[in-house]
């Protein structure tokens, strides 16, 4: 790798964070240390680095001092990386010639009890940052052209609803359904909680809208065979009967839904006894019965529901709760109560999870006289035939673990939701990971709930985990909006932090391709030899490939060998700080520190307070500042023993403040 030009005019900004950092870290000494580093032109302390005024000052510095790189030592880059990249850009330097050093979370907050150590660590980190930035390269965002089309896999309620919105936002939508009929699971349920609407009514309404939208193409009986390409330009190979189609799309939305858990033979007597059925089967039975509930031509007078079947297994595979089954069972029981008179229901449960408004259904069912019995996972109910009925034995946790038995005509196994049997296949096809539970995984359950680690591939609905209809639709619609934000621009910009191959050195051993989880590396014929090449739109910059390369042919943008080695060297160098008596570097020393530099507003406040003491409203008026800002700054000044409260003002409402200890401050 050719030796790059090192940066020679670096600006360093060390933030007080209004005391958050400077209370513990000796920012002034560190600033002076940084000034002596190779290539550093200016090193400054700032009260709030992110403040508008400071951003402007930085831009001015870049222009005036012809800076070619900047370092900000402040909070976590999660907060302000993009803020300062932007500052760099506005000042006229490449945003990737910027490094943020986290001295708040990693120094002042983490080591508040040992300010000396915190300061030394901060100094080391800043030096590492300076070294890194001095080797940094200017990078350009990767530009990818995008197709304004979306492939949606699975035409259940989630897929259908997202298709409609995406189409309305102007995307060509290819909706691909494996089955002959659309609607997925919802089409099977007649009575839905909580609204009492019918499943097929909802599906028909969606289906009508889909037919009306000309930019939705629906393929039924269709399967995805292969997916190539990357964000902006996926190509999905679809089989429809004997026909094969290649669909080009900018993004892919996976809404393949779930399977209902199928009990094993003999689980609570399933399959051994015909009167033991699953909840989905039972829902079908309710829908097809009129006036009397008949099962195998016999009238049903009592029903025992056994909950959590196949779910929440502490030992087994399905550790999770399926969320919808409690409510579905209770809803079914209510329907039975209304539709057929005089049927006694027993609910054998582990916990009832009718969260939110669904709780009302639970209460109604209890009031109807449904009997609830709570069992422990370790002592599940036992189902035995007795004559042409069933005997269920249960240890009831709510009655001092009493062994109870009941006679019933029908046992309904309240089965939960499991990942679709073919979800492994989809996962392999799209390279999207599944979680421990077997459902597709998002990047972050709270902050990025519908994106996958594969750029351009999104998940929505119950393929991500058990969800009821509202939750399924919420997630698929949020994916739709995310997708549209991508596809609406003809060009997509991606971060340039990717692996780069030195073709001269590469001997195509294939090791890197092997370890790349995202399948970003493929062989390429070049200059008459085979070399590794990285698809930049696919590469995540994870860095897995670099260390395995025997030829050292891989360098990561922003994390090149030079940069990483520079950081290590920088951090290793000894930091020498001077600890003076009363200085905060002496652990447990005085709270107040010598402020060598006061922010502008403090200087203004101090100016106003020469002479008489003044109240906050008066100061605010005099300086033309927001009184909140004045309060905040006075408080901080008070902390540094620069001002103190004097007496109540004339209105008896506000304290006035006076100067206390200003001599050691150099204005």
């Amino acid at each position: 790798m050719e030796e790059k030009q090192k940066k020679e005019r670096i600006g360093v900004y060390i933030c007080h964070c209004g005391g958050n950092i400077s209370d513990y870290v000796d920012v002034a000494q560190i600033r002076d240390l940084a000034k002596n580093e190779e290539g550093v032109i200016i090193s400054k302390n700032v009260m709030f680095a992110c403040a508008d005024s400071n951003q402007k000052e930085m831009i001015r510095d870049i222009e005036d001092e012809k800076l070619d790189a900047i370092v900000v030592a402040s909070c976590s880059p999660k907060l302000h990386l993009h803020t300062f990249r932007n500052v760099a850009l506005r000042g006229g330097i490449n945003p990737y010639n910027y490094t943020q050093v986290n001295i708040r979370e990693q120094c002042s907050w983490a080591h508040s009890d040992t300010p000396g150590e915190a300061s030394i660590k901060a100094a080391g980190l800043i030096r590492a940052g300076i070294k890194k930035v001095s080797f940094s390269e200017a990078l350009e965002n990767i530009e990818v052209s995008s197709t304004r089309a979306v492939v949606i896999i699975g035409a259940g309620v989630s897929g259908m609803r997202a298709a409609i919105d995406l189409a309305k936002m102007g995307n060509q939508v290819y909706l691909i359904e494996k089955e002959k009929a659309i609607g997925g699971n919802v089409a099977k349920w007649k009575e839905l909680f909580i609204t009492g609407q019918k499943g097929n009514t909802i599906i028909e309404a969606l289906s009508k809208q889909i037919r009306e939208l000309t930019n939705i193409t629906l393929f039924t009986g269709a399967t995805i065979e292969k997916v190539t390409g990357s964000i902006g330009n996926f190509i999905a190979e679809v089989n429809i009967g004997d026909e094969k189609l290649n669909l080009k799309s900018g993004a892919i939305l996976v809404t393949t839904g779930f399977d209902s858990y199928l009990p094993t033979e003999g689980e609570f007597g399933y399959k051994n006894n015909p009167a033991v059925i699953t909840l989905p089967e039972f829902k079908g039975l309710i829908d097809n019965s009129h006036e009397t509930l008949l099962y195998n031509n016999r009238k049903v007078n009592s029903i025992a529901y056994i909950y959590c079947v196949g779910m929440r297994q502490t030992k087994g595979e399905n550790k999770y709760c399926s969320r919808v089954c409690c409510t579905t069972a209770i809803q079914s029981s209510l329907t039975v109560h209304e539709k057929f008179k005089d049927i006694q229901a027993y609910h054998l449960y582990r916990d009832i999870r009718t969260y939110g408004k669904q709780e009302i259904l639970y209460e109604r069912s209890s009031k109807n006289g449904d009997i609830y019995l709570k069992f422990d996972e370790k002592a599940p109910p036992v189902v035995e035939p007795i004559g042409n009925k069933l005997l269920v034995k249960v240890k009831d946790e709510l009655t001092k673990r009493r062994e109870l038995e009941l006679e019933t005509d029908l046992v309904v196994l309240v089965t939960g939701l499991v990942p679709r049997s073919d979800s492994k296949q989809i996962s392999a096809l799209l390279k999207i990971p599944v979680g421990n539970d077997g459902f597709f995984n998002e990047i972050h359950p709270k902050l990025r709930p519908v994106e996958t680690v594969i750029n351009g591939v999104f998940i929505g609905g119950s393929c991500q985990g058990p969800k009821n209809i509202s939750e399924s639709v919420q997630s698929s619609l949020s994916a739709a909006v995310k997708i549209n934000a991508l596809t609406k621009n003809p060009t997509i910009f991606l971060e340039p932090i990717v692996a780069r191959i030195n073709f001269d050195a590469c001997v195509w051993c294939g090791k890197c391709a092997e370890v790349c989880e995202y399948d970003a590396i493929h062989p390429l014929e070049m200059y008459g030899k085979t070399v590794a090449s990285v698809n930049e739109a696919v590469c995540k910059g994870c860095g897995m490939c670099a260390p395995v390369c025997p030829a050292d042919a891989i360098d990561m943008a922003q994390y090149s060998n030079n940069e990483i080695e520079g950081m290590i060297d920088g951090f290793m160098e000894k930091v020498e700080l001077v600890a003076e008596a009363g200085d905060k570097l002496q652990d447990g020393g005085e709270e107040g520190i010598a402020m060598k530099d006061m922010p502008l507003i403090w200087r203004q406040l101090a100016g106003c307070l020469q002479g008489d003491s003044k109240s906050i409203p008066d100061l605010a008026k005099e300086l033309g500042l927001d009184s909140e800002l004045v309060t905040y700054n006075l408080m901080t000044m008070n902390k540094y023993s620069l001002v103190e409260a004097d007496k109540l003002d004339d209105s008896d409402e506000y304290f006035s403040y006076k100067l206390k200890n200003i001599p050691h401050v150099q204005n």
Binding site: S366, Y372, L404
Partner: protein, 374 residues
């Protein structure tokens, strides 16, 4: 292994607990009840027994008698399952089950039967009273229809049946409760101590006084004299005092003894307590001061009213004996007083009042067991 009986809940509902099926076992009621401790746990677990139809759990329990129906639990229940009302219903159910004649069941379960029965009894008692004055016109006519001996013996039989069924009920309860006793040498001192505790409790209502003491309780800063425990205490001791005074009078065979006679003084004091207690109780129920009083069953109304009338008419007679009054009016009042008092005595074992004999027994079991546990 016990069999669940889903029909049982509807049986209990007939005794006056409507909503207890709504219970979802949160246990707030048990937590808030001031009378539960290490050894006794209620009311939640008994709602469970009712819902599952575990009859024996109820009939073998002392806990249901420890509850004084303060209603605090009902105020706390998030499902409005009315655990306090439910406990009261269980007591009615238990009384009806212990008592062998089945009369209590009829009275509790059906208002019309109850009313008819009360009227019938009044008429019977009225006739019966005339037989005490054999030379009266009505009596003479009566004796031509039914011979004196028959009437007299019938009276004895009825009173014996009442007595026997009460004794039967107590024995049944004793046997049931004994089944769940944790066996551990019930020593003699235990026995005596336990009864001493029972008497102390009946005398002071100490446990009742600890009821409903939450900060937001209606009774929090009210004077003791108008608190439910004192009202209950007044009615109970008023009634017992009057019963004793009547018996003493009867033994002394001279109802018109001078006013300073001990039995007369007892009668006066007891009568005052009774009228005070019943008046307050009737007012509370009428005004529905707290949720506990929001629903009063007909049988409860009748008995409170009967007690009150018995008390008031008693005073009337007292005063008229001292000052003399209209002869006919006095006789009518006397007739009412006697009929109502007799009804109260006759129905004692077949009504809510029977708790006065069952509760002490349950308290005895409770005190004996809690002593053993300590």
């Amino acid at each position: 292994m016990s069999r669940i009986d889903p029909e049982f809940a509807s049986e209990i509902k007939k005794y006056g607990a409507k909503d207890f099926s709504a219970c979802f076992n949160c246990g707030n009621c048990t937590a808030v009840c001031g009378l539960t401790d290490k050894s006794v746990n209620f009311p939640r677990i008994f709602l469970r027994s009712g819902i599952l139809g575990l009859k024996d759990d109820i009939l073998q329990s002392r806990e249901i008698w420890l509850c004084y129906a303060c209603g605090e639990c009902s105020e706390t229940c998030p499902r409005q399952a009315g655990p306090g009302d439910y406990m009261a219903a269980l007591r009615r159910y238990a009384i009806a089950s212990y008592e062998p004649t089945g009369l209590t069941k009829l009275i509790f379960k059906s208002n019309p039967v109850f009313i008819l029965f009360t009227i019938f009894l009044s008429v019977m008692l009225g006739f019966f009273l005339f037989t005490l004055k054999p030379d009266h016109e009505v009596s003479r006519w009566l004796f031509t229809v039914i011979p004196y001996a028959v009437i007299h013996n019938m009276g004895l039989v009825i009173f014996s049946i009442t007595g026997i069924s009460m004794a039967w009920g107590l024995i049944t309860m004793y046997l049931k409760l004994s089944k769940t006793v944790v066996k551990s040498e019930p020593g003699k001192s235990n026995f005596v101590n336990a009864w001493r505790e029972v008497v102390k409790e009946l005398g002071t209502m100490n446990r009742y006084q600890t009821c409903d003491k939450e900060d937001d309780s209606y009774w929090k800063n009210k004077p003791a004299a108008i608190q439910p425990w004192f009202v209950h205490w007044s009615i109970m001791w008023g009634f017992l005092g009057l019963l004793l005074a009547t018996v003493l009078d009867f033994i002394l065979k001279d109802p018109a003894t001078a006013i300073w006679w001990p039995s007369r003084i007892l009668g006066t004091v007891a009568g005052l307590l009774l009228v005070y207690g019943t008046s307050l109780s009737i007012t509370y129920r009428f005004k529905k001061v707290t949720k506990t009083y929001r629903e009063t069953r007909l049988a409860d109304w009748m008995f409170l009213l009967f007690l009150w009338v018995a008390g008031i008419t008693g005073f009337w007679l007292e005063i008229s004996v001292a000052f003399g009054a209209n002869y006919l009016l006095n006789h009518i009042v006397l007739l009412i007083h006697t009929i109502i008092s007799m009804e109260l005595v006759l129905l004692f074992g077949f009504s809510k009042f029977a708790h006065a004999i069952y509760r002490p027994l349950a308290l005895f079991f409770y005190f004996r067991e809690s002593q053993q546990k300590n």
